[in-house]
Symmetry: C2
Subunit: 267 residues, 2 copies
């Protein structure tokens, strides 16, 4: 079983990804797809007059400030617009996809953080209306039920809290927990870069291999979202994953090539 | 098995509906839920600067003009915002709901209308970019797979065309086809009125019973959307349905009371 994570960037080529998924399924592979939608979310948020706000924790990790309006925009763009367009495209390529959010069937369950702290200059502010949390539990039965009946699950946030509230969640962390729960051995992560880069924006500075036991050493190369991806990777290995492929979602045969060694391999 | 259809009005009380669903499930009943989201769709469309446009066919049936932007708004509001909020609310009441659009697993498949005609004053205009169609096929296996595994399917448009394009579809017609395919005997339709009214807006003019063989006779009482609901009902009976309950989605115990005779019964 391969877990594929697609980033939310606009240059990601969904047709190339769907073609590869079709090929792999024809070869008998089982696939679970998880996707982002951050760029579309930010665009719609802007158009609705509620632009996405980011907060930075005192430890330097940035995340989206998620109040009720942000949750609504999240539902609209992740579970609605982007999820269903990916499902329709997979259907077009002959793959019987079913889109699910973390809410559906309690697929992604987590604990809501009661209080979140935000570093604003030298001040630390307490934010209490933030609807976020970390995924801790996966409904493995629902995923396997779909896979066993030849459906490809297309999964996205948000998640469901223990009190059945809708919560935003770190996608990379949720994917790691999912990889552990599903006993995934291979995970492919596709984004708008050839892999992990030594120099930000310099695509020739690709790091070909990363030792899974030395992920912390690479955090200095990771800009913005990449930091979270590395922390997610670390958690996924802790939960039993064997190999992560980080690769370019913009090029032809993005999945098949990365499984052959194109991109960054963490193992 | 009961098929429940909830209208897209804002006064519909979801808590009351969820409470009844929980009670019925505890009694061993299997339930499939289909919902609308027209009011939320219109609000978001307005906020996005693309207000919903309606076209009227030369035969007097009105429908939403659905170009690409309208499909996006459809996905955001039906499959995203409203579907997931209903699923989360059902989860809150202890019902393990899974939300699906007609696209997922090809749940609702239809034929896209190549050309739609719109009556504008005395002129008839041909509209070619309208992404609409009628549902003709239901993936009964997916619904039964979920029901057999104790999940409650929460279904909404859009549907998928034969060419795997996303199409808007008449919800009441789709529900009728679904009732036929699932061999449903009882269907409950909840909206913002006590049932079919003889005088529009006069809630005391409730029609208690309608003969399923004389539905056409009642078309004169049906304003706007109600006309489509009656036509959908006619099709559902043609496909084998035995009884339809039209009732008030705003009151306490809306489903349990209507099954006891409150509202309009068509049979």
């Amino acid at each position: 079983m391969i877990l594929i994570k697609i980033g939310g960037g606009k240059k990601i080529n969904l047709d190339y990804i769907c073609e590869d998924i079709k090929t792999l399924i024809n070869q008998g592979e089982k696939i679970v797809l998880v996707h982002g939608a951050s760029v579309v979310r930010d665009e719609i948020a802007e158009r609705l007059g509620s632009p996405t706000k980011t907060i930075t924790s005192p430890t330097g990790i940035s995340s989206v400030y998620t109040n009720k309006e942000a949750i609504d925009i999240f539902l609209m763009t992740y579970s609605g617009l982007v999820n269903k367009k990916i499902v329709a495209k997979l259907q077009f390529y002959g793959v019987n996809a079913v889109g699910l959010s973390g809410i559906d069937g309690q697929l992604w369950k987590g604990k809501r953080k009661k209080a979140v702290y935000s570093q604003e200059g030298k001040k630390i502010k307490l934010i209490s209306d933030n609807m976020t949390g970390k995924v801790t539990e996966i409904n493995v039965n629902l995923i396997n039920l779909l896979l066993d009946n030849k459906y490809l699950p297309v999964v996205c946030p948000p998640a469901l809290s223990e009190e059945s509230k809708i919560i935003n969640t770190d996608n990379d962390w949720a994917v790691a927990v999912m990889a552990g729960a599903l006993k995934i051995e291979k995970m492919v992560v596709l984004f708008e870069a050839p892999g992990l880069l030594k120099k930000f924006c310099d695509e020739s500075s690709l790091i070909k291999t990363v030792d899974k036991n030395k992920i912390d050493k690479y955090l200095i190369y990771a800009q913005g979202r990449m930091k979270k991806k590395l922390l997610g990777a670390k958690e996924a290995f802790r939960l039993g994953l064997k190999k992560i492929y980080w690769s370019d979602g913009r090029i032809k045969n993005p999945i098949i090539n990365t499984l052959k060694g194109v991109g960054t391999i963490i193992s």
